[in-house]
Amino acid sequence: MLVLKRKLNESIMIGDDIEIKIVSIESDGVRIGIEAPRELAIYRKEIYLEIQQENQGAIAKDTMQAKQLMDVLKQYKGDERIGDK
């Protein structure tokens, strides 16, 4: 990993069109401003990992179990939170 030292309001360019700027430095964290093309999705890594982990655990393996969702839903009916559609 490339490590660079930056001060407040200093930036790093990645290629021609991605800029990462140190916006503020506080005792409990650093605020970073990012300018990048819109086709790039930007997110905090822990959120990405959480979604990744949930996706991996969400693979529908057991179709019988999946079908049971309908039965549970039927028991659950009468609850106006769930529409008929």
């Binding site: 819109r38 959120i47 996706n55 179990q65 309908m70 549970v72 559609k85």
Partner: protein, 142 residues
């Protein structure tokens, strides 16, 4: 069938190579003869990979989020009516404990079939909202 294929240009986290999925309702798969809020989202290239998804608004009527300009642009969305939202379900040992991932909704442009899994960073939504919360309360826990 091909009209039900959606395309994730960048895959989804954990499955970056899976770009195309087909959405089939439980009604269609199991021939239920009734509407179902549940759907399968099956990988086109990997037959063993499928997810169960729901229309989250049927289960969580207060669910809401804003689409960023970046997402609107990436998916080529022109108007609100062409947007469809789904949430992925995670099944537990007990089906009644199933949870919905409201942190990472799947947003689809139904016109051009482009899709993306969003990350609702900065909201209170999580990856594990109980689908049948009320029923659990009625049962008084176990």
């Amino acid at each position: 069938m091909s009209e039900n294929i959606i395309r994730f240009e960048r895959g989804i986290p954990g499955f970056l190579d899976e770009k195309e999925f087909i959405i089939q309702s439980f009604n269609e798969v199991y021939d239920l003869g009734e509407d179902s809020p549940f759907y399968f989202m099956k990988s086109v290239q990997n037959k063993d990979l499928s997810f169960i998804i729901i229309n989250p608004f049927l289960f969580f009527p207060d669910y809401e989020f804003q689409l960023s300009n970046e997402v609107i642009e990436r998916l080529g969305i022109q108007k609100e009516e062409e947007v469809a939202v789904f949430s992925i379900i995670t099944l537990k040992d007990q089906v009644k404990d199933a949870t919905a991932n409201l942190l990472g909704p799947i947003v689809i442009n139904t016109t051009n079939r482009q899709a993306e899994q969003l990350f609702l960073d900065g909201t209170s939504y999580t990856t594990k909202h109980p689908l049948f919360a009320k029923q659990e309360a009625l049962a008084g826990g176990e």
